[in-house]
């Protein structure tokens, strides 16, 4: 999807009607808007965001002043944003109108003859949801200053958004629906089978599934809380960075906090794993000697042919019934021969006894191996715990010292922010711990469910081979399995290419030999060195990696990556990237590289810049890819003041501020 034109009328600082033609050319996908502070760059970004979502973001959330104040005084009661959209060969015209009482959405398809065919509001909303889903709008339309808020360390929200960008949402929803059908069929099947064992297993399966559902919901809630606490902590941390006395210290504390959270989580996971290991294996270890003796005793019994006896019950029963041995000897009741047969019957082999003894011996062998490996396993797990403990204590000491120094600064506002940050950090710690425990419970419940299902399937297979319900369930299971495998394969393929793409950019543009790895569990992006060791990176490098990640994701969705192409199962979201002051937080040394990478990977790139940011260096890197440049002229009401703000490029000069009859933004194309 591309935006070919934006029309903005009486919207905030834009008085009257203004039209911007964006470059939608594949070879020149970049449109740049230049303006000084307060000129209306972020307003324009918000206008696009609002046109798609109907919502205002950030500081624009307040609806007062949406209609330009002079237009309002002149009796205008509407502000309008129009977008001309191209999606493949289809063209659309989207109009969103703001009124003080309400707002409305109008959309029309533009046919080959240029005629407008209006769409219903429902159809319009559906189409927008497809082109620019509201929950993904922040990905494609964002303020560079907010890049800090993007989490690379495995945030549930980030994972969901990446999945949705790649169209995975449709597949997971489909799998979810099929899962419900399968469970319903299984439930009916369990009810239909009059077998106590199966019924009992069915009840246990239902209960375990319910437990899994509850645990998953708890984890989701906890993760949502965690995101909130992280945002609170980040906001407090950001606030502390604004105060000169605490700035340097806070930077250090923030870095150590990030490292501490990672190490804490590894430490707790290692403790839980060790606990789980000990709980599961302490009994074989305790009885190591006794188990070994029992194995020996059973072997002796087997050698002596007492385990199980080599004759079957059926033969003995027949002899007893016929009252005659196969050798011809008569067997009378209560005779020594009959007593001997009764004695033999107690030792006789049946397939069932044989199978039971086989299970016992197999499990004994397993326990024996577990017991022998126990000390080594435990030592290795305890070693990990010790290392993480040492590491986290080290971080804690640094944080404590930093916090103390900040707390000693005699400024109330600093103290208050520090207090807020520490409260949020405490909550993060508690929530992380709760997530860990619930994940543990979920893991156990999943293991139990898998065991119960396998047992259930064996029973059901024995009991109802020809049941229609079973056949139906199996068909649905096959579809579900197929989809899960395809989804797994697609996800694996996508993450591999994504990893390659990000790594490529890092290897090409960073001085160090760093590359990226992405976890399939939480989509966290980690930076590793040439020996695959996880690396701590600087703030500047982290922002670079974040932009590389955004570029790679957007590029992959549009099949523009260099590493490989994905055969998408469902349509990914391909939307223009609209970036407001993208490089406000980026080190100068990375700006050109990030810009070039984004330009290469996105189908359409709209960027706003402060006049000082588009210098000759950056322009020469992007020159061949830039289609249009506009300047946003900030006009102020009143007499001319002697404070010119100028944008200059290749000898051409534009004054970015004017004085006149009203406060407004004017748009002027910049042609070299």
């Amino acid at each position: 999807m591309k935006i070919s034109n934006i029309i903005i009328e009486n919207f905030r600082s834009y008085y009257g009607r203004h039209e911007i033609e964006l470059s939608a050319d594949d070879a020149k996908p970049i449109t740049i808007l230049i303006g000084s502070n307060g000129a209306g760059k972020t307003t324009l970004l918000n206008a696009v965001y609002w046109a798609f979502t109907g919502k205002f973001k950030g500081k624009f959330a307040q609806t007062s002043g949406v209609i330009h104040k002079d237009a309002h005084m002149e009796g205008k009661r509407e502000a309008t944003v129009e977008l001309f959209i191209e999606n493949g060969s289809e063209k659309y015209h989207l109009t969103r109108i703001y009124r003080t009482s309400d707002s409305s959405l109008h959309m029309a398809r533009i046919n080959d003859h240029g005629e407008y065919q209006p769409m219903s509001e429902l159809a319009a909303k559906r189409l927008i949801e497809q082109l620019m889903p509201e929950r993904l709008a922040n990905w494609f339309i964002f303020e560079g200053e907010k890049i800090d808020h993007m989490e690379l360390k495995g945030d549930e929200k980030l994972k969901r958004e990446i999945q949705e960008t790649f169209g995975f949402g449709t597949i997971t929803a489909l799998i979810g629906h099929i899962e419900v059908i399968r469970k319903n069929l299984a439930h009916q099947e369990r009810k239909a089978i009059a077998n106590n064992d199966v019924t009992e297993l069915g009840i246990q399966i239902d209960a375990t599934e319910e437990q899994i559902k509850i645990n998953k919901a708890t984890i989701n809630n906890l993760k949502a809380q965690l995101t909130q606490f992280r945002a609170e902590s980040a906001a407090a941390s950001e606030a502390l960075l604004r105060f000169a006395p605490s700035q340097k210290l806070q930077k250090e504390v923030t870095l150590f906090k990030q490292s501490l959270e990672t190490t804490e989580s590894k430490f707790r996971a290692a403790i839980r794993e060790r606990g789980k290991y000990v709980a599961q294996n302490s009994l074989p270890k305790l009885l190591e000697q006794e188990l070994s003796q029992l194995i020996n005793k059973l072997t002796v019994k087997e050698d002596e042919q007492q385990l199980p006896a080599p004759f079957g019950t059926r033969l003995i029963e027949e002899i007893k019934q016929m009252k005659q041995c196969i050798c011809g000897t008569a067997i009378h009741p209560d005779s020594p021969e009959m007593h001997r047969l009764d004695e033999m019957m107690r030792k006789a082999s049946t397939p069932k006894i044989g199978a039971k003894i086989f299970v016992v011996r197999a499990r004994l062998g397993g326990y024996d191996s577990t017991a022998k490996a126990f000390n080594k396993e435990l030592e290795s797990r305890s070693g990990d715990i010790g290392r993480y403990d040492q590491e986290r204590n080290h971080y804690k000491e640094f944080i404590k010292a930093g916090n103390k120094e900040i707390a000693d600064i005699n400024e109330d506002e600093i103290k208050e922010w520090k207090r807020k940050e520490q409260t949020a950090d405490k909550n993060i710690e508690i929530t992380n711990r709760d997530i860990g425990h619930t994940e543990n419970k979920l893991g156990t419940a999943n293991e139990q469910l898998s065991k119960l299902l396998s047992e259930y399937n064996t029973k059901v297979n024995q009991a109802t081979k020809k049941s229609t319900l079973t056949k139906d369930r199996k068909k649905v299971e096959l579809v579900e399995e197929f989809l899960r495998i395809r989804f797994y394969e697609q996800e694996k393929e996508v993450l591999k290419i994504l990893e390659g793409e990000i790594s490529n950019v890092m290897l090409q543009r960073m001085t160090k030999h760093y590359s990226a790895t992405i976890s399939a569990t939480d989509y966290s992006v980690k930076v590793v060195d040439i020996d695959s060791r996880s690396m701590e990176i600087s703030e500047g490098e982290e922002i670079f990696v974040k932009f590389a990640t955004i570029g790679a994701i957007v590029g992959m969705a549009g099949n523009r990556t260099t590493v490989g192409r994905v055969n998408w199962l469902t349509e990914p979201v391909i939307a223009p990237l609209v970036l407001d002051a993208p490089f406000s937080k980026v080190d100068d040394k990375y700006r050109a590289d990030i810009a070039k990478n984004l330009a290469d990977l996105s189908g359409q790139l709209i960027m706003t810049f402060d006049q000082s940011k588009l210098d000759e260096g950056l322009y020469s890197v992007l020159e061949k890819r830039i289609g249009k440049i506009y300047t946003l002229i900030s006009r102020a009401k009143g007499n001319v003041k002697d404070s010119e703000k100028v944008f200059e490029l290749r000898g051409k000069r534009v004054v970015l501020n004017e004085y006149g009859e009203r406060d407004e933004t004017r748009i002027k194309e910049f042609i070299l």
Partner: protein, 166 residues
């Protein structure tokens, strides 16, 4: 291979004395009420099973008659892959393992009875150790017990375990 459920002929209930609940709770969640980083055993069934093994280890078997009892169904053992221990404890308790516990309902009931008594013996042992010293975490408690028996097994010494966490 047959499932653990198929090892059993009948459903049974394993009973254990309620008076040992504090030590059982401790081995699950330590001194806290709910699951935490120091949690060790997941459920009562895991502790009772460990206790039965301990009963075998220290040759301590206690009658449970006259006690206020708590119950765990054999299904719970089976669902936690612990059902087989009901038979293993019985096989280990005899000088000559008696395979007949797998053959008849009576044999199976005898195995269940033996398991209960060894579990009660093991729980009594755990309870004594728990009350003897100030304990810290379930992991340290179990580790100490395991280390004590390992040393004893290696040296052929006397079955006594000192628990000193101070």
């Amino acid at each position: 291979m047959i499932s653990e459920r198929e090892l059993f002929i009948d459903n049974h209930v394993i009973r254990w004395p309620e008076k040992y609940r504090p030590v059982v709770d401790f081995l699950i969640n330590g001194l806290e009420e709910k699951s935490n980083d120091n949690s060790l055993f997941e459920r009562n069934v895991h502790v009772v099973c460990f206790a039965a093994g301990l009963g075998i280890k220290v040759a301590r078997r206690e009658s449970i008659s006259g006690e206020k009892l708590l119950e765990i169904e054999t299904d719970t053992f089976i669902n936690n892959n612990l059902g087989i221990w009901i038979f293993l404890i019985s096989l280990m308790s005899n000088e000559v393992p008696d395979i007949n516990i797998f053959r008849t309902s009576e044999g199976e009931s005898e195995a269940v009875k033996l398991f209960q008594e060894y579990a009660a013996g093991g729980l009594a042992y755990l309870n004594e150790k728990f009350n003897e010293d100030s304990v810290q975490t379930p992991f340290m408690f179990v580790r100490k017990i395991l280390d004590g028996f390992e040393n004893q097994d290696n040296s052929g010494g006397v079955a006594e375990v000192e628990i000193d966490f101070l």
